[in-house]
Amino acid sequence: MAPEIHPIVLLFASVFTSNILLANFLGMCSFISISKDMKSANGLGLAVTVVLTITSMLNWVLLKFVIIPLDLIYLRYIIFIIVIAATVQILEMVIDRVSPALYLSLGIFLPLITVNCAILGVALFMQIREYNFVQTVVFSFGSGIGWWLAIMALSAINKKIEKAPVPPALKGPGITLITIGFMAMAFIGFSGMLSVQ
């Protein structure tokens, strides 16, 4: 049975209190590697949000009408991943045609969304928490926005850090990881307000 969570609550929770990145630590690799440049971070955040929303909807349909009726739950990982990979490939072709500038700014990172664990994580949360279709759409869209928000925040902080007197040994990935730790702690502050489990 789907839990009784209002979509607005779910949206707020997925963006802030249960942020897919800073509360669940999913999708960290691209989050760290792309956060140096705001333009790329913005593009990747948009792409992750679009892919997350589309793939979750497709995966929900498959879960409801194929996986559960045929008792194929143990195959959900492979099915979800196939859907994610195909969606990213289609999206890549469409973006290349519709917005070459965005395609260029995303570069190699667009196909890498395929292996972004936030995408698979959201699909699995949707299944484990037994969300209905509307909840799935809201949750996946909110998670995408939450991921986007987190990467933009880190990117903005990185801009400041560039000019900060960081000890030489901590420059680069060291100070980035410490920053992410502080960001995660800050987001934990939201967790008392709402929680979706």
């Binding site: 498959l62 194929v66 045929l70 008792d71 194929l72 195959l75 492979i78 099915i79 196939i82 859907v83 195909a86 490939q89 289609i90 072709m93 469409v94 290349d96 045609r97 070459p100 500038a101 260029l104 570069g107 190699i108």
Partner: protein
């Protein structure tokens, strides 16, 4: 029953998604007919848009060099694009110099033809051909280098000693697509009906593994070429050549061509480095060449000579041997030119030795692989 349903369901989902990708590809990547203008109207071609510039040119039998087969990793397929094809891709910029960027030089494998396009390529590329050859012989010259000779079946190849051809590796085993790899020709320009290559086995290498494990005498193989700008200058400068492993190939071609064309007055020093005796080859041929060419000096060197194995050549790293000879043996009274063929590491190390011995970088020519 589940044994059938489970894989069937996954296969069906995958098939539907594959069909969706295929349909989107057909619709989205349909750029209609576009015109490719080469060298200010010298050749105008109508073709279907959506393909890379490299493969579109190859489809018209115009072969731009590409050692990596169009994967954007070798940077060899540079050509000037004079129309607007959008900004540089991140895969192109690492291969571009400031001058390249100013001249709008692009990697042909990374430029997708979406609308009418104008390009400029060297006229000599029009002379590059695809040869349908038959493997005439395969000889093991060391434990990991094969000398492969291809018969061009009546066709002739015209090239300058030092140039290379691309070997077209067909799909085999787990390698589904055709790919191409560049190899310097060891045959001399006078031998127009054959191409001889030295191919060292690279662990995990697609082309070299295929050559070493599957290629047989009598097999049909496509070659494309000749390419390259590594050849001797038409001067009487002292040539100081350095090679290791299969880097031997262009020097065999150059040296035997000098013998054939009677270019015997020019002083040539050839340093060939190997680890042990079992990595050394063509010693007899090069010693013979020393007898026929009075100004040719061959210096083979082993970096890790094994005890108990007889060796009467030099020992030590090839860079140390080169340094010693540049200081003590090779006269500085005449201008010297460096010719290098080997790994980037070896070439960089030799460049340092040359410059330390007052050989300008402008006078060093190399073929990195």
């Amino acid at each position: 029953m589940m044994i059938i349903i489970a894989p069937g369901a996954v296969a069906l989902i995958a098939a539907i998604l594959a069909a969706a990708i295929s349909i989107v590809d057909k619709v989205v990547n349909n750029y209609g007919e576009v015109e490719l203008d080469i060298n200010d109207g010298k050749k105008k071609i109508k073709l279907d848009g959506g393909e890379s510039l490299l493969s579109s040119l190859a489809g018209q039998e115009i072969f731009v060099p590409s050692a990596c087969g169009g994967r954007g990793t070798c940077g060899a397929c540079k050509c000037q694009v004079t129309s607007d094809v959008g900004p540089y891709l991140p895969t192109e910029t690492p291969f571009m110099t400031k001058e390249n960027l100013a001249d709008n030089i692009r990697l042909a494998c990374q430029v997708k033809i979406k609308s009418d396009i104008s390009i400029k390529i060297p006229d000599e590329l029009f002379n590059i051909k695809k040869y349908d050859s038959i493997v005439k012989s395969i000889v093991d010259v060391t434990h990991d280098i094969k000398e492969v000779t291809f018969d061009l079946q009546g066709e002739e190849i015209n090239f300058e000693a030092g140039k290379y051809v691309q070997l077209v590796v067909p799909p085999h085993g787990k390698i589904k697509g055709s790919t191409q790899r560049a190899y310097s020709m060891a045959s001399k320009p006078g031998e127009k009906d054959i191409v001889r290559l030295l191919i060292r086995l690279v662990p995990g290498g697609i082309a070299t593994t295929w050559v070493h494990t599957e290629l047989k005498e009598g097999d049909r193989v496509e070659l494309v070429g000749p390419f390259g700008d590594f050849f001797r200058t038409p001067t009487d400068t002292t040539m100081v050549c350095v090679a290791g492993g299969s880097g031997m190939a262009p020097f065999m071609s150059i040296l035997f061509d000098m013998l054939d064309t009677g270019e015997l007055d020019r002083e040539v020093w050839y340093f060939f480095g190997a680890r042990t005796v079992k990595d050394m080859f063509y010693l007899d041929e090069l010693r013979e060449l020393e007898k026929k060419m009075p100004n040719f000096h061959f210096v083979p060197a082993l970096s890790e000579p094994e005890e108990g194995t007889p060796w009467d050549g030099a020992t030590g790293l090839i860079t140390d041997v080169l340094d010693k000879y540049l200081k003590e043996e090779i006269g500085t009274d005449k201008k010297r030119e460096g010719y290098l063929c080997g790994s980037p590491g070896m070439i960089n190390a030799c460049n340092n030795v040359f410059t330390a011995n007052k050989v300008s970088l402008d006078d060093i020519f190399y073929d990195k692989f």
